[in-house]
């Protein structure tokens, strides 16, 4: 198990390293530079040359790459061009909002998804199952940002129940300091988290239902039924345990989904998180910030699948017994 874990961890680090390299090469190969005169502003070529020197852009690309990696090993992500502060600071500011949003969405996703999937499996092939299944499929097919727009329109613009964007009231609550501000944050959080959570829950419910029904066909479940246990107990106690295993994989897959969804949903709700940071950084050709965001994004994805693998090994004795792991 330990050897497997070490190998798995090394692979994860190698993957993140590869992603950083690809991002670095891509962004430097792209035409255009971050410091240039455009239609709106005239810049002295002397100033541009100085800026390029200051940020090391006058060096050949391989040298820049080695320098970047050396800084990375020391935990230095570099200096953001556009924000006039370290990349790490910019990212550190953007992570809590995204974590709040994605974390809440994850809870909605799995709580609602598991409950729905279970209900559907218990009522399999009856009206409730089929109706809910179609509703879930419909939600699963929507563009996440479009659902966000619609929720925003209905609950923000028409009914005025929820705010039309932002993370907190800028005047009353510049930061979470009191219970009332926490309420304000939750009030702003509801729609974006629901948007992400509902779409995710639809997928989770579909998986959970399929997993339950697959397990329900196995011999040990038939044995439980033959003992005369009630159907509810058979499904919710005996079958559920094994049906939760594939959900662990789904948990790992939820990370990239939430991350991608967050880019668009953050845009819809003007949520000041990683998604918005990445998009603006890309548009401003803020090389270090883009590479840093790619590092965080791929790190989260790799971490998600790593956590899922470990959880799976812990939860499933068949895999643990093999020692080497998957």
């Amino acid at each position: 198990m330990t050897a497997w874990l070490v190998r798995r961890l090394a692979a994860a680090i190698a993957i993140v390293f590869a992603v950083v390299t690809i991002t670095f090469v891509l962004i430097h190969l792209a035409p255009g530079t971050p410091f240039a005169a455009d239609d709106q502003r005239q810049v002295d070529p002397e100033v541009i040359a100085r800026l390029r020197r200051q940020f090391g852009l006058d060096q050949p690309l391989p040298v820049q790459y080695v320098l970047y990696l050396r800084n990375l090993l020391h935990g230095e992500l570099g200096q953001s061009f556009s924000q006039h502060r370290p990349v790490a600071a910019a990212i550190a500011d953007a992570i809590p909002p995204t974590l709040t949003l994605a974390g809440t969405a994850l809870v909605i996703d799995f709580a609602l998804g598991l409950a729905l999937g279970l209900y559907q499996a218990v009522r399999a092939r009856r009206f409730g199952d089929i109706a809910l299944g179609n509703v879930a499929l419909f939600f699963n097919s929507m563009p996440t940002f479009w659902l966000g727009l619609i929720l925003l329109l209905v609950f923000g613009q028409w009914l005025h129940v929820f705010p039309v964007g932002g993370m907190r009231d800028p005047v009353l609550c510049p930061s979470v300091t009191s219970a009332r501000c926490l309420g304000d944050l939750l009030w702003h959080l509801t729609l974006p988290a629901l948007t992400l959570g509902l779409v995710g829950a639809a997928a989770t419910a579909r998986y959970q239902r399929a997993a339950m029904l697959e397990v329900a066909g196995q011999d040990y479940v038939r044995t439980a039924r033959a003992k005369g246990l009630r159907e509810r107990r058979v499904l919710l106690v005996h079958a559920l345990r094994n049906a939760l295993l594939p959900i662990i994989t789904l948990f790992g897959l939820a990370f990239p989904f939430l991350l991608t969804g967050a880019v668009l949903v953050e845009r819809v709700f003007a949520w000041p998180g990683m998604g918005r940071l990445s998009v603006t950084a890309i548009f401003q050709r803020d090389y270090p910030l883009v590479t840093g965001a790619a590092l965080v994004a791929s790190g989260v994805v790799v971490l998600g699948s790593l956590v899922a693998d470990v959880l799976y090994a812990v939860a499933d004795p068949r895999i643990r017994g093999r020692g080497a792991g998957p």
């Binding site: 991002t23 097919s141 479009w146 329109l153 613009q157 668009l264 998009v279």
Partner: protein
């Protein structure tokens, strides 16, 4: 909307009904087809897809106005749905219904082409990795690991934002080239077990080279995961294109794709929700249909699994 456009629309519905009925009739004669039909939504999915494909192909007949034509920028801005404009007009006084119909061409076309690219590369890489194993397998699958760890949206955003005015064809190619990683894993898994079977050994024994064995013997038997991931792949690409266009980075504005129509209408969503509302609904319907058909195909092509 004239009588003719209504007639054209009715014909499209009729064509779709006939297509769905024909699929049902053909499917009922085979075991796999009957497994497909056991999905109550699969036939409905075929109908929806047939309808959208027909309208896309017959766009000039079904769309009453020029999709890019600004009818009257002064008086016909953001008109609500009416008999003249069944889905209203957008801020540039263009008919939303006509844009939606022509948008079906772009959105479905982009989805199909990008999916073909993704599935071709995915099947090729998966087959090579599974068949040759050893070094080739290791190198290819590690690249797949890296590809899966790069958020697709992020890569595409970078490409589109950094290379300004990227031609649409290149964008479609890029969407395809970032979408094959999952497929290649599925195909590889199938190929790994297929290559040990007797008929592959027999083919090799009579002197068939690896190319022939892979294309004539192994891949046809691994068709199930390829077809299923193709069905889901189109839907994914349509959603992805919509997302990119929503950020203003997908299909350039005068061209109508469903995503870019949503983008155009988004600033006016409070006063003219129809512009952004209907294309989103169209996306949801098409992706829903693709998912339903994909579910049906998966059960039809994988007899080991009981239909649930």
């Amino acid at each position: 909307m004239t009588v003719w456009t209504w007639l054209a629309l009715a014909s499209a519905v009729a064509v779709a009904l006939v297509a769905a009925a024909e699929v049902r009739r053909r499917a009922a004669t085979r075991a796999a087809g009957r497994r497909f039909l056991r999905h109550p939504t699969a036939t409905a999915g075929v109908f929806i897809l047939a309808f959208f494909v027909t309208t896309a192909l017959a766009a000039p007949l079904v769309a009453p106005y020029d999709p890019a034509g600004q009818l009257d920028p002064v008086h016909l801005q953001n008109q609500p749905p009416s008999t003249r404009f069944p889905l209203g007009t957008d801020v540039y006084s263009r008919d939303v219904w006509s844009r939606l119909v022509y948008g079906a061409r772009l959105s479905l076309g982009i989805g199909t082409i990008a999916m073909l690219v993704a599935v071709t590369v995915g099947a090729g890489v998966g087959a090579a990795a599974g068949y040759f194993r050893r070094g080739i397998d290791a190198v290819l699958m590690r690249s797949v690991d890296v590809g899966l760890a790069m958020p697709r949206m992020f890569v595409l955003l970078m490409a589109v934002a950094l290379w300004e005015r990227l031609p649409l064809a290149v964008l479609v190619l890029l969407i395809g080239l970032t979408g094959w990683f999952g497929t290649s894993r599925l195909v590889r898994a199938d190929v790994l077990s297929l290559r040990e079977r007797e008929f592959v050994a027999a083919a090799r024994a009579v002197g068939a080279g690896p190319t022939r064995v892979i294309f004539r013997h192994v891949l046809p038997n691994a068709a199930a995961p390829i077809i299923v991931s193709a069905a889901f792949g189109i839907g994914n690409v349509i959603l992805l294109e919509a997302g990119l266009s929503y950020l203003g980075l997908g299909v350039p504005s005068p061209l109508p794709s469903w995503g870019s129509i949503i983008y155009d209408g988004q600033p006016y969503i409070a006063t003219a929700p129809w512009t952004s509302g209907f294309p989103g609904l169209a996306i949801a319907l098409v992706v829903l249909a693709l998912n339903a058909v994909g579910d049906g195909l998966r059960d039809a092509l994988d007899p080991r699994k009981e239909a649930t």
